[in-house]
């Protein structure tokens, strides 16, 4: 699988695993991949996006989303429009159930083994699927190498927080795809 990855694409995957490790998480998600891609200036993705979105912004929003059980800034704003203060709900819930009450708990497997986290974070099925999608994108664009831009397309096709954050910053699959098609 990795033979078709460009150097930067490979580094992005490694960067994603490292990032999850630093954050003491036991799962590597597409969100980690997005952060790693944006943080690596060599990958050129931030430049490609014309600074529509930075690694710091994405990390910030993903952390807020994590605490909210996956609800994005756009979700919080929409709830506000119908009179629900998500921050207030969270504060109340955390006051009675403790901090990070809405964060998904660690997998049962590691809890049963009696350790708080395994030695190294493992990639989620969604992460793997993102890589598969990115290879398909490269093939459909008739490229020999899978590059960070293809990872971006895959992230935009995979429903989830990474896709939500990109969409919230105006990044659209159709636009990116069109740009890559004409460049080829």
């Amino acid at each position: 699988m990795f033979e078709r990855f460009s150097q930067h694409a490979r580094e992005a995957v490694i960067g994603a695993v490292r990032r999850a490790d630093w954050d003491n998480e036991d799962r590597v998600t597409p969100e980690h991949l997005l952060i790693a891609l944006l943080a690596d200036s060599g990958a050129g993705l931030a430049r490609f996006l014309g600074d529509q979105v930075t690694a710091a912004e994405v990390s910030g929003e993903l952390e807020r989303m994590r605490r909210r059980g996956g609800l994005s800034d756009a979700d919080a704003a929409a709830l506000g429009e119908i009179g629900i203060d998500l921050g207030a709900v969270l504060d109340t819930v955390e006051r009675s159930l403790g901090p990070d009450a809405l964060v998904a708990p660690v997998s049962d497997r590691s809890r049963r083994r009696g350790i708080s986290r395994p030695g190294r974070p493992t990639i989620t099925p969604e992460f793997k699927h993102t890589l598969e999608l990115s290879l398909r994108e490269a093939v459909s664009l008739r490229e020999r190498e899978m590059r960070p831009e293809h990872l971006l397309l895959a992230l935009l096709r995979q429903p989830g927080p990474a896709c939500d954050v990109l969409t919230a910053h105006g990044v659209r699959y159709a636009d990116v795809r069109a740009r890559l098609s004409t460049a080829a």
């Binding site: 909210r68 059980g69 996956g70 609800l71 756009a74 979700d75 919080a76 929409a78 709830l79 429009e81 119908i82 629900i84 998500l86 709900v89 819930v93 159930l97 009450a101 809405l102 708990p105 049962d108």
Partner: protein, 69 residues
């Protein structure tokens, strides 16, 4: 539409996209809240039947949804 005109349109009539987004967000928030409250009930020693009764659903439904965590 420019941002100014779209904002004006939203203020004027009930924009379905905002309303629907709110419903979707509320549904996901509800799921997270339910999961957190069920976890808490289990920590307090509640049986699946107790939890099901409090939620107004069947024991099977609660166990199937939350039992494997």
């Amino acid at each position: 539409m420019t941002e100014a005109t779209s904002l004006a349109a939203r203020a004027g009539d009930a924009d379905p996209s905002v309303g629907l987004r709110a419903v979707s967000a509320l549904r996901r928030l509800l799921e997270q809240l339910e999961a957190a409250q069920v976890r808490n009930a289990r920590v307090h020693g509640w049986s699946w039947q107790d939890i099901a009764d409090a939620l107004g659903v069947s024991r099977q439904a609660v166990h199937k949804k939350h039992g494997r965590r």
